[in-house]
């Protein structure tokens, strides 16, 4: 506890939250400071590689592993929703109020913020049995840029982490949903994009119910 003495009076009171000597925490920084800054992809790749290895410890199966990756992304999504909205011009600062607006927000703002480009496509499930399913399609997800999934785990897609972020954004905007990542590359038309990934967004029934009510009025 020797280092606590140097930080002065603020540090020692609240365990778990340490303040720097000048009292300026991350909350004192201007929100837009890092708006245009970029990160090294290599350092992210190494960090992500460790995140996957960490999630892989003591898992029972692939579904469990994807669940853990999803959980790692979820809080990021919740926070990003607020951050991205506050960076919008004042008149468009309200959160998306219908499914289409939300998905466009994710495809445009969220993707641009995270990966520097928009998602490649947005689709609604053509199956009449599942009107609650929407698909965000990314031809080559940045998180998978260096990941080769071994054959015995072929169902796994590490973009489950990104799915978790998307799920966090949906939950934060009060559109509770389950988001999963699926690899579709390597099949018939996916030859050009072997890493092509579909993020399947499945909204809860109450979301669709509300959507229908809003549509009527």
């Amino acid at each position: 506890m020797a280092h606590m003495g140097a930080t002065g009076k603020t540090g020692s009171k609240e365990p778990g939250l340490r303040y720097p000597a000048n009292g300026k925490t991350i909350f004192h920084r201007p929100l837009n400071r890092s708006k245009t800054s970029e990160l090294s992809q290599a350092s992210f790749a190494y960090l992500f590689s460790e995140m996957v290895s960490y999630a892989q410890k003591r898992v029972t199966g692939i579904a469990d592993l994807e669940k853990r990756l999803n959980l790692q992304g979820h809080p990021i999504g919740l926070k990003l929703l607020d951050l991205l909205l506050i960076r919008e011009p004042l008149r468009s600062q309200s959160r998306p109020l219908n499914i289409i607006a939300l998905l466009h927000f994710i495809k445009g703002n969220l993707w641009t913020h995270l990966f520097g480009r928009q998602a490649d496509r947005l689709e609604k499930s053509s199956n009449p049995d599942t009107p609650d399913e929407y698909m965000i399609i990314d031809n080559e997800p940045l998180v998978n840029a260096y990941v080769s999934v071994p054959k015995e785990m072929s169902q796994l897609n590490c973009a489950a982490f990104v799915a978790g972020i998307v799920e966090g954004v949906c939950d934060g905007a009060a559109f509770p949903a389950r988001v999963t990542a699926h690899t579709v590359g390597g099949k018939e038309e996916g030859e050009m994009w072997p890493g092509k990934t579909v993020f399947l967004v499945k909204f809860q029934p109450e979301v669709l119910e509300r959507e229908a009510l809003i549509g009527k009025s």
Binding site: F48, S49, E50, V147, S148, P194
Partner: protein, 162 residues
């Protein structure tokens, strides 16, 4: 100008990657022979690094200024000798690239191939990207990464079709 094959040897002398790019360039040998080749090359390489007369650069280590003791040591450490770099026969040329961590990349080309050192560095770069950044790769184990295979094949194909 053709690139025939690539072999990667880990720091313990084990074969971790082996791929042929051009049929009919080199005679086929069995996997077991490849393992023996990797182990033997590793041993020969180790001996050649010892054969190399080390340049006498560390002699005046004590006389350098004591103000920066750490830096002085680093500057005066003799270059580690590179050991065997090229092995050439009538029909093929074997270039070896030894990384800082002791992983060896062996590239078999025909004797007229130019800029092999550039090619081999690019291969190393791909290895660093698609093998080392892959969360499912275990260090020192055989390389089984689709992404690495794919990028490597397309790069070598580009060279061979030039």
């Amino acid at each position: 100008m053709t690139v025939f094959a690539l072999i990667i040897i880990n720091k313990a002398g084990g074969l971790i990657y082996n791929r042929t790019f051009h049929e009919g360039g080199l005679n086929k040998i069995s996997t077991n022979d490849y393992l023996v080749l990797a182990g033997t090359f590793h041993g020969v390489h180790a001996i050649t690094t010892r054969l190399n007369p080390v340049k006498n650069a560390g002699g005046d280590r004590t006389s350098t200024s004591p103000s920066v003791p750490g830096a002085a040591n680093i500057v005066n450490r003799p270059e580690p000798s590179s050991g065997l770099e090229v092995l050439e026969s009538e029909n093929f040329r074997l270039q070896c690239f030894n990384t800082m961590t002791g992983t060896k990349f062996l590239l078999f080309t025909d004797t007229t191939q130019a800029n092999v050192d550039v090619t081999i560095r690019r291969v190393y770069e791909m290895y660093a990207d698609y093998v080392m950044k892959n969360p499912f790769y275990q260090l020192e184990m055989p390389v089984r990464c689709d992404m690495f295979d794919r990028k490597l094949l397309s790069y070598i194909r580009e060279i061979n079709n030039r």
